[in-house]
């Protein structure tokens, strides 16, 4: 009798312990949701004082960004232009090369080559961005200056090119996974119709995997838009409203870094501007991500 009671008691604590552990695990899982909320809350909360001072219209239309000068202007456009220009240069490198590499590795390359090459590509994506920045400033810019002698020491072209190389592995590995997920019988069907490898790859596999490839592009765009150190090192930090990649300019993220390098008292105008800039950056990534989500849905193929 006594033993039975004891066993029941044991089972009771056992149940309690299980519930306790489950709650702790749920709490841990909720921490990521809390992080998202904290990001949105902090960005909004800290930029409210800024938007009280600067009307939204001026923020979006003024063509100068000089918040720390005596003659202060608060137009975000120069920073947005810098961000979009470096992103465009990076994508012009990364999207064609990343896609070609993905097609090559998934459809053409022998198994051994793929096993050897993939870790190298992964390493390319793992190099710290400040090292890439040093490379852009110290190697790529001098090389470009041999072609365009009057290229300035800081320019968006070299930062964008190196950023593009950095993004290649992100695009190629995600698109390759998408292409390899296309079932074999679809390829076999294409070969049976007499198509060559190239025709099968470009007209059958790529369209079937396009949803995943689009996701890879969006990942690449997010990386490029938010990338900081390469542009901070190699593109100069002068806000400059231009779409010409040969000129120096600052991006949103480079501006934030530049301000943070100096003395930054809590509540000063400099402190407020970086949160307003951060909010803009966050909204830009959000727009790209929503576009990506839509693309993914639009082109999804189910087998």
């Amino acid at each position: 009798m006594n033993g039975k009671n004891h066993r029941l008691a044991h089972s009771h604590t056992r149940h309690l312990r299980e519930r306790l552990i489950e709650s702790v695990l749920l709490l841990a899982a909720l921490s990521s949701v809390a992080t998202t909320f904290a990001i949105v809350a902090i960005l909004c909360y800290e930029s409210i004082p800024f938007f009280r001072k600067v009307p939204l219209k001026e923020f979006l239309t003024d063509s100068q960004w000089t918040p720390l000068f005596d003659d202060a202007h608060y137009g975000i456009m120069p920073l947005v232009a810098g961000t979009l220009t470096t992103t465009a240069v990076a994508l012009l490198v990364a999207i064609p090369m990343g896609t070609v590499i993905a097609i090559y590795l998934s459809e053409f390359a022998p198994h051994r080559l793929r096993e050897v090459v993939k870790p190298f590509l992964e390493l390319l994506g793992a190099v710290p961005t400040v090292v890439f920045g040093y490379f852009a400033l110290g190697v790529v810019t001098p090389l470009l200056q041999m072609i365009y002698p009057d290229l300035s020491g800081f320019n968006m072209l070299s930062a964008g090119l190196v950023m593009g190389i950095m993004i290649i592995p992100y695009i190629s590995s995600v698109s390759e996974d998408a292409m390899r997920a296309v079932p074999m019988h679809i390829r076999e069907g294409s070969y049976a119709m007499g198509a060559t490898r190239f025709q099968t790859a470009t007209r059958v596999v790529v369209p079937s995997a396009f949803s995943g490839i689009a996701a890879a592009y969006i990942l690449g765009i997010s990386r490029a838009v938010g990338e900081t150190m390469i542009v901070a090192v190699a593109a100069g930090m002068q806000p400059n409203l231009t779409w010409n990649p040969l000129e120096p300019a600052a991006t949103i993220s480079a501006y934030i870094v530049q301000v943070c390098l100096g003395d930054l008292p809590h509540g000063s105008i400099g402190y407020q501007t970086i949160f307003a800039a951060g909010l803009t950056l966050m909204l830009m990534t959000l727009v790209f991500n929503i576009a990506g989500y839509w693309l993914k849905k639009r082109f999804r193929e189910v087998y």
């Binding site: 695990l25 992080t35 090559y104 053409f108 190298f120 793992a126 190099v127 710290p128 110290g138 025709q199």
Partner: protein, 307 residues
Amino acid sequence: MNQPNINEMRGLIARHKRWDIIFAIVGLVCLLVGILTLLALFGQLVAEGLPRLKPGFFISFPSRSAEEAGILSAWVGTTLVMLVTALAAVPLGVASAIYLEEYAPKNWLTAVIEINVTNLAGVPSIVYGLLALGLFVYQLDLGQSILSAGLTLALLILPVVIVATREALRAVPGSIREAAYALGATRWQMVSNHVLPYSQGGIMTGVIIGLSRAIGETAPIITIGALTFIAFLPHPPVTGEFPYLSFAWLKDPFTVMPIQMFNWTSRPEEAFQHNAAAAGVVLLGMTLLMNGVAIWLRYRIRKRIKW
């Protein structure tokens, strides 16, 4: 069938096949461009930085004179920040992954958490820096300290750790779980005694990849206000008198390797560029080492485990 038609066919096939070869060459060239860039980057760093990589470089503080400057405060800072990051990110990330993979019911809350983890992976790192500046440094008053930096990077790599851990857990076959249940194990006993030990290799891989990303992160650490010129060490974590462990270092100002390198890169003098390259070699060495370990671990797991 008449003869000329077949010849035409053969020509057509040959033309189409030519594209196969052209594309294979283009693909190989693209691949080579990527890999050669990696090699060029490495070669340049080593060529520029090797002369500075003497023992003195590792045990000197930064200095106004390039020849006397070193990375002592930087690598100590990086080590301590990584310690905080790992201690915060690993339990949190592994626990989240266990919940999502082994416990979560199929409901809206789980869906929200999953979408959220995916989206967090796409948030630019500098935004994490702003979060940390507003939240850790000012709201929670942790200051511009090692603790703030470590927690920031922990949040940054949390999605990496969660995704990798979930994959490792998913690779454990369901039959193992059923066998544990059949012996009367509770869910937590099943997870802690069976699933976790079998997946620890995969989890380790994910953690190392995450930490190797954190070690090179510069922007969020600059955002919380890490100083670029630190000529002293944080409080030692181990002290001579009781209770032997001290946590004063958590609140100390600090610098880390990538910031030290960035600081030297942005100076115009040639000599400091060499220092930057030398710091870059050390930083890249740390990253490559961690990634190498991760790749090796993954390879070993794939070879060893056959369910």
